[in-house]
């Protein structure tokens, strides 16, 4: 087998990214959509870390920032979800069609 | 092959760092066995010590002084019917105890019982330990949710909130210890568990006594947070018997329940070993700064053997006090045999090569054992906190204290 190169990692990351995109576009459950976003962010992270192996550590720093961002996004996203659920009693994405309540 | 095996013994690296798979495997097996024995012993000791604190005798029937009680319990749990509620989520219900056990055991990969006695030495050792032990909360949440019942769910919500909030105070305390490792000529600290102990060796002080009282306060924060992390009294709200019957593992029985039990005790040992490594000098012997020199080294190196001889003496004393009745014959012989084994171990620990090898492991285990005793003591003494009070302690007391200690440690590190 060929030795594992950067490209191998990139392919894994691409697969995860596509999975995340499918999840975001097709699922109706808000929680799962949020989790799909996490998948996308993670795919990006994997790319960054894989590149950091070639071009220095900056990629890892970016990965850490992305994780920070993911934490912030999850907190706000879940907060919105709770507020949404309290008003609509559903977690269906298609019902999110009001700008205010 | 033989070379491969013996070559490691001469190196002063951990098997993981030396890349020696054979010895790494041996260490893993040893730690697994040792941990199981420790949990069994802990079970017996906790019941005995609690009993004696509460003016009763504790287990006395199975074996002399109840020595075989934990084994009887384990057998009972294994034979018991394993019940799964019909409305439970089978996969999650099934995997939750496994996850808890796996995380509790995985932590021990980086615990340094001595300068070379660890499975491996990661340069993110502390981070790894905190990370993996924080995974156990997932198992708790899964167990509570999968049971599909009110009490477990409330227990799971309580414990996840509790574990997540105390992790922060814990992390702050850990960082101030890591900060202390950087007080050398190069100014480089380390996250490696072995590196932290070596830093304490280089500075000739346990970090608990560094920058008095800063180190002590950080140790105190960690000591409180680790009790909360492991859901033990007085922070045992998730499994508070009088409130939530048994919390997140109410619906578990038999073998699966025993896995939770095993995980709880090994998690206690794990966090105790982090505390010992970070603040109590890991495998260092006591008083490294005040009582140093060859003579003291020799004196302290005799302590392991003496400890075992003392235990043997206590056992022999108890044997002599056993009732002289044919009914107790087997038990008396058993207790005497146990004492003889202890005495043999004690004598063996005086032989110089063994003595030198065992030093580190003995001191480390002794400190962990002390920490475990504290756990039992807390349980015997304190009432239980209420949930809002628990959160108050975590966020309003420990967190500001942790930040303060961290800042002051940094300042002290620059000044001194």
């Amino acid at each position: 087998m060929a030795p594992i190169s950067t490209l191998h990692y990139l392919v894994v990351a691409a697969a995860l990214f596509i999975l995340g995109v499918i999840g975001v576009l097709t699922r109706r459950n808000v929680v799962i959509v949020l989790m799909s976003i996490e998948l996308i962010l993670n795919a990006v992270n994997l790319n960054l870390v894989a590149f950091s192996r070639i071009w220095g550590l900056h990629g890892q720093i970016f990965a850490i920032f992305v994780i920070t961002d993911a934490a912030a996004e999850a907190a706000v996203g879940l907060g919105i979800l709770i507020a949404f659920f309290r008003n609509k009693e559903t977690v269906n994405m298609d019902e999110v069609d009001l700008m205010k309540w | 092959m033989l070379d491969y095996i013996t070559s490691y013994l001469k190196s002063d690296l951990t098997p993981g760092s030396a890349g020696n798979l054979f010895w790494a495997f041996v260490y893993i097996v040893l730690i697994f066995l040792g941990l199981s024995v420790a949990v069994i012993a802990m079970n017996w000791l906790e019941r005995k010590i609690l009993a004696h604190m509460q003016v009763r005798l504790g287990p006395m029937r199975v074996g002399p002084h109840g020595l075989l009680q934990p084994i009887a319990d384990a057998l009972k749990l294994l034979i018991k019917e394993d019940i799964m509620p019909s409305a439970a989520d089978p996969w999650v219900f099934w995997s939750a105890p496994l996850l808890v056990v796996i995380t509790a055991f995985t932590v021990f990969v980086v615990v340094p019982f001595g300068p070379t006695h660890a499975v491996t030495d990661m340069n993110i050792g502390v981070l790894f330990m905190l990370g993996v032990s924080s995974l156990s909360v997932l198992g708790v949440v899964m167990a509570g949710w999968a049971s599909n019942s009110h009490y477990p769910l409330m227990g799971a919500l309580r414990s996840s909130a509790q574990m997540v909030s105390y992790e922060i105070a814990m992390g702050l305390a850990v960082i101030s210890a890591v900060l202390m490792t950087s007080l050398n000529n190069e100014g480089t600290g380390t996250l490696s568990m072995i590196g932290i102990v070596q830093a304490q060796q280089a500075q000739h002080v346990w970090f608990a006594f560094k920058f008095f009282p800063l180190g002590l306060i950080a140790f105190f924060i960690f000591a409180v947070a680790m009790v909360a992390e492991t859901n033990r009294a007085p922070f045992d709200l998730p499994e508070a018997e009088s409130e939530l019957t048994a919390g997140f593992h109410t619906e578990y029985s038999g073998f699966r329940w025993s896995l939770f039990f095993l995980a709880e005790y090994s998690a206690m040992i794990a966090v105790s070993s982090i505390a010992v490594t970070l603040w109590l000098g890991g495998w260092m012997r006591p008083f490294p700064n005040a009582l140093n020199g060859e003579t003291w080294d020799l004196v302290f190196s005799l302590v392991p053997g003496l400890t075992f001889l003392l235990l043997a003496a206590i056992t022999f004393y108890s044997t002599a006090r056993m009732p002289k009745h044919p009914y107790f014959k087997v038990q008396t012989i058993g207790l005497g045999g146990f004492g003889a084994v202890l005495a043999l171990i004690g004598v063996a620990l005086f032989i110089p090569p063994v003595r030198d090898r065992v030093q580190d492991i003995f001191w480390f285990s002794a400190k962990v054992a002390f920490s475990m005793y504290m756990y039992i003591w807390y349980r015997g003494t304190f009432p239980r906190y209420r949930f809002d009070q628990l959160m108050k302690v975590g966020w309003k007391v420990l967190l500001p204290l942790g930040i303060g200690v961290l800042v002051l440690t940094a300042i002290a590190g620059i000044l001194f």
Binding site: Y9, R28, L34, G56, I64, A71, V76, G79, I82 | D89
Partner: protein, 169 residues
């Protein structure tokens, strides 16, 4: 230490990561999805270790698997999911979504095939011992300002989450 069985571990871990990724977007039950995501994240943490990024791996385990996912599970337990499970799981535009994803995949394939030269196979092996230090030096040196902004972002997120989730202010 020298890595052992890199090829095997790479394929094993990436299979684990991708398969649990598939589970994330296909499970009916949100808790199962979250658990699959945790497995996927842990697999990725192991991949980071293989890429000589132990610090990022540690952060991934603590923050992602131990922190964010617990938050997710917490919320899933708070909102009732029984009703959501009985409903239709995919929305009407699932064909469009699938097509978009396929197009994206084709784009990736194109880029990787055409731009192969951009990603040299030789990897500069980072000295494992000082990874944490190097990250720290960069983080508190070059990226100091970014770091501070990130802390601000987190503060805003905390306030935002509290405001959103509170029953009444």
């Amino acid at each position: 230490m020298a890595p052992v069985a890199t090829t095997f571990f790479f394929y094993f871990l990436s299979a684990l990561t991708v398969l649990s990724g598939v589970l994330v977007i296909t499970r009916k039950n949100a808790v199962h999805s979250a658990l699959a995501l945790i497995v996927s994240l842990l697999g990725q943490a192991a991949l980071y270790l293989m890429l000589y990024a132990p610090f990022v791996a540690g952060v991934q385990i603590i923050l992602y698997a131990g922190g964010i996912m617990v938050l997710f599970l917490f919320v899933i337990m708070l909102v009732s999911i029984e009703k959501a499970q009985k409903e239709e799981q995919f929305n009407q535009q699932w064909l469009v979504g699938l097509a978009a994803a396929l197009a994206l995949g084709a784009l990736f394939v194109l880029v990787y095939v055409k731009g192969r030269a951009l990603f040299p196979d030789r990897g500069i092996l980072m000295p494992e011992q000082s990874n944490t230090q190097q990250v720290a030096v960069l983080l508190y040196g070059n990226y100091m300002f970014t770091f501070e902004i990130a802390s601000l972002l987190l503060l805003v997120a905390i306030i935002g989450a509290v405001v959103m989730a509170k029953k009444r202010i």
